[in-house]
């Protein structure tokens, strides 16, 4: 028997145990697949047989879900599955050389499984370790701060088949790197106090009765504590921290006012699928102040009358799961979750954590809900919106981790206090994930209104060429714009702040981001599925030196098509990094347009590379003369 083979009975045993723990609930499909894989190293066909029988769902559905997520394997990928983070910051920190070193140490080809079935080495999108990269995942556990020495040690551990649990704990230490803290990260907060403050806002007469009714039925605002809490959120001017910036109070109110069908309940979802390359502030919030986040969710539940909550945690943050579950258990013991929270009759709410499995698109709220329901993470057609028809068709709010943390503080200290921080249009603070070319990468919390220049000065960035704010789907800011400010009135952001100094090639930055979108397109709609691939091919063509003004025009046309025809934000924003860098760093593109006239992308010499690899040759005789050599 090979390393990756288990007896069918053993597989069935694993599947039974996992499925029973998930109450044989097909909506937990992704969680079941993920846990089966943790036990079996992959999802073998026998496991799918068993799931099919026990869950009573067709095989097409199970295979459809398994096939959607990058971290679920229906083919053996080794006992050790190594994925190098491949964000632009990892590249700048030299991840490519490290990956080659590991591959050669282990005699394995990138993207393939070693012949003995022991290990595979591949790459993955940004793992949220940009301030301490290069990063990697081994069997979905994060390791930061890689260097040649550590790579050699890791190769040794793998060769000696040392179980992951016995690897040096120092490898798995992830730093918070908080460089500037403000109201959220400095919060002197006792679990439960925001809830008690929310409850205290109720008018004293008939407090319990009105709260109970509100919790269950979501009565209009103005009645009791929930209405008063919602009013505080509205007064605070809080807007969503995930990037879109929708007014939180309006979202909550719409959900609270949505009609409940029989047997339905309201749902609170915390979006911790922090997939935007360059963003890692939710990782730090969840690691440093999980109670504040959970309390914010509970405040939301109280305000809108929800009884069930989810955290959708990105698969890359799997290492946080056990700690977060322990915090939830502690909160239940403190009566801050569960039944009659804080002794308030009828105040029932609990939170469960679902872990993603490598799909950026699941950060889009309707795709996230699909994934929570155990499906492929395809964004839904809207309307209807989640506030009326969300998780299992029930009224649902989806908010970012940072939004909930802010909501807890607003419940505690009031909307007016919060509205007084930041700028007129952008209340409160924003946590930035600073990485790239600077001396002090890490987490910076500022009141809204801080200028790009200020952030650059604080983190020790010099000779800066550009800053990518809010990741590839955000905007690329050039030197002449550094006096612009972070805020909804100028540069809104989900938190990424990636710095490039003047030695960086902004074309290659954009090309990395285009590759990211191509990999993460869900494939549902034609323009994004095919268009991101066409865009990738064109950027690669420019990279290889076959680009001409014709290709440049094609890129611009594709950008337009993606923006007008795509189904969701991923397609709409997939062109942003290209459009921005074309507008602001045109010379980086002009340099790539090495051909005057149209030249085919097909390059015979490059096509022979696989033959050269197979024969182990790289001498002159194994190459063809081409008119435009280009670089590879």
């Amino acid at each position: 028997m090979g390393l990756n083979e288990m007896h069918a009975e053993a597989v069935a045993g694993v599947v039974d145990r996992v499925i029973n723990r998930y109450r044989r609930d097909p909506t937990c499909m992704l969680q079941i697949l993920r846990e089966v894989q943790e036990a079996c190293d992959w999802v073998p066909p026998e496991a799918i047989d068993r799931m099919q029988a026990m869950l009573g769902v067709p095989r097409t559905k199970i295979e459809g879900v398994a096939g959607f997520y990058s971290f679920i394997y229906t083919e053996p990928r080794g006992k050790y599955r190594v994925l190098f983070s491949d964000n632009i910051t990892d590249r700048m920190q030299g991840n490519r050389a490290l990956m080659e070193r590991l591959c050669s140490n282990l005699w394995v080809e990138r993207g393939k499984v070693s012949e003995d079935g022991l290990v595979s080495v591949g790459k993955t999108a940004c793992t949220g370790l940009c301030d301490q990269g290069p990063g990697m995942l081994v069997n979905n556990y994060a390791i930061a701060g890689l260097n040649l020495e550590r790579i050699d040690e890791i190769a040794e551990l793998i060769r000696n088949k040392v179980p992951l649990a016995d690897w040096p704990p120092a490898y798995f230490r992830i730093e918070d790197n908080i460089r500037r803290a403000d109201i959220l990260l400095n919060a002197d907060f006792t679990p439960g106090e925001a809830l008690l403050a929310a409850r205290a806002r109720a008018p004293s007469d008939g407090l319990n009765a009105s709260n109970m009714r509100s919790w269950r039925e979501g009565l209009p605002s103005g009645i009791g504590g929930p209405g008063a809490t919602l009013d505080e959120i509205k007064r605070s001017g809080l807007r969503g921290r995930g990037g879109a910036g929708f007014t939180t109070g309006l979202k909550w109110e719409a959900c609270r006012n949505a009609q409940l069908k029989a047997g339905h309940q309201r749902i609170v979802v915390c979006n911790a699928d922090e997939g935007e390359p360059g963003t890692f502030k939710d990782r730090v919030l969840l690691s440093k102040c999980p109670d504040l986040v959970f309390e914010g969710m509970t405040v939301a539940a109280y305000a809108i009358g929800a009884t069930r909550g989810f955290v959708y945690l990105r698969g890359e943050y799997r290492y946080l799961l056990d700690h977060l579950n322990a915090v939830l258990a502690h909160r239940r013991r403190q009566n801050l979750l569960g039944k009659d929270i804080c002794g308030l009759p009828g105040a029932d709410f609990d939170i469960e954590i679902h872990v993603g499995a490598g799909a950026y698109v699941c950060g889009e709220e309707s795709a996230l809900i699909e994934s929570l329901e155990g499906k492929r993470g395809t964004p839904r057609n809207r309307p209807p919106f989640p506030v009326t028809n969300g998780y299992l068709d029930q009224p649902t709010i989806v908010n970012n981790v940072e939004t909930f943390a802010a909501a807890a503080l607003i419940a505690l200290r009031g909307g007016e206090w919060y509205a007084g921080i930041g700028t007129k249009q952008s209340a409160g603070t924003k946590i930035l994930s600073v990485s790239g070319d600077c001396e002090r990468p890490g987490i910076y919390e500022y009141p809204f209104g801080v200028s790009i220049r200020q952030v650059l000065a604080d983190c020790g960035a010099t000779d800066t060429q550009a800053v990518q704010v809010s990741g590839p789907s955000g905007i690329c800011v050039a030197e002449n714009e550094f006096d612009r400010i972070i805020g909804f009135e100028d540069i809104p952001t989900a938190g990424a702040f990636t710095i490039f100094n003047k030695s960086r090639d902004m074309f290659e930055v954009a090309r990395n981001y285009v590759h990211f979108f191509q990999h993460e397109s869900c494939g549902f709609c034609t323009p994004c599925r095919v268009g991101t691939s066409l865009l990738k091919n064109l950027m690669d063509k420019l990279h290889y030196g076959s680009g001409s003004p014709y290709d440049f025009a094609e890129i611009e046309k594709l950008n337009q098509l993606l923006q007008s025809m795509s189904h969701c934000g991923l397609g709409h924003t997939a062109c942003n990094p290209v459009l921005d860098t074309i507008a602001k760093f045109r010379p980086a593109y002009d340099k790539r347009m090495m051909q005057q006239d149209f030249t085919p992308a097909f390059d015979l010499d490059r096509e022979l590379s696989s033959a050269r690899q197979m024969t182990g040759r790289d001498d002159a005789g194994a190459h063809l003369e081409t008119e435009h050599g280009g670089q590879s």
Binding site: R59, G67, R376, H519, S521, P527, V530, T532
Partner: protein, 235 residues
Amino acid sequence: MSYTFTLDGKVVPFVDGQTIIQAASAAGIFIPHLCYHPEFKPHGSCKLCTVKVNGRHTASCTMRAAPGMVVESETEEINAERRALTQMLFVEGNHFCPSCEKSGNCQLQATAYHLGMMSAHYDHFFPNRAVDASHPEALLDFNRCILCSLCVRASRDVDGKNVFGLSGRGIKTHLIVNAKSGRLADTDFTLADKAAQVCPVGVILKKRQGFAVPIGERKYDKAPISETAETTEGR
């Protein structure tokens, strides 16, 4: 209640709950589409039916009509975008019309003609996709799949079988069948299934029926797709 909106300046009546494409089609106005089929729940993935509603692009198969909407469809801009999407579908798969049994009955081909598509424009992807000839009655040629999911919906919602599904992600999204072996022969699929009749292109084909109707006398040879009635679609 009955209301109206305007489509390219024409007044189109609709009833509550109707989508733009449903109302348009009831009024005899053709909007190009591939994944939409009047008998199934709209999917909204091919984006061919995109129109502009009050200046904003939106799929007309999923957008409910609303009173007073100003809808543009047959404009040069929108048709150029639809043509580009059609070209994308042509380069994504392997579509060789002259040797395809579905030629003349194919909605992708007919839509390309309708939109005046003269070439594939983009570089072909030439994906490597195997053909499944395992089933005694039917052939699956995945080379032509445009991922409209009509067979998925028909098998699930009408046949109650779930013979087809989509797996993979992004450009690797692909059609799968409901068998451990991955072969159609090991499913309960039959030619009598609704799923056998809805493929707009030439993926699901009846065996031993090659070219029974000569090219030149087929559905879209006789009349362009814009003039064929919706209700006979896919037959």
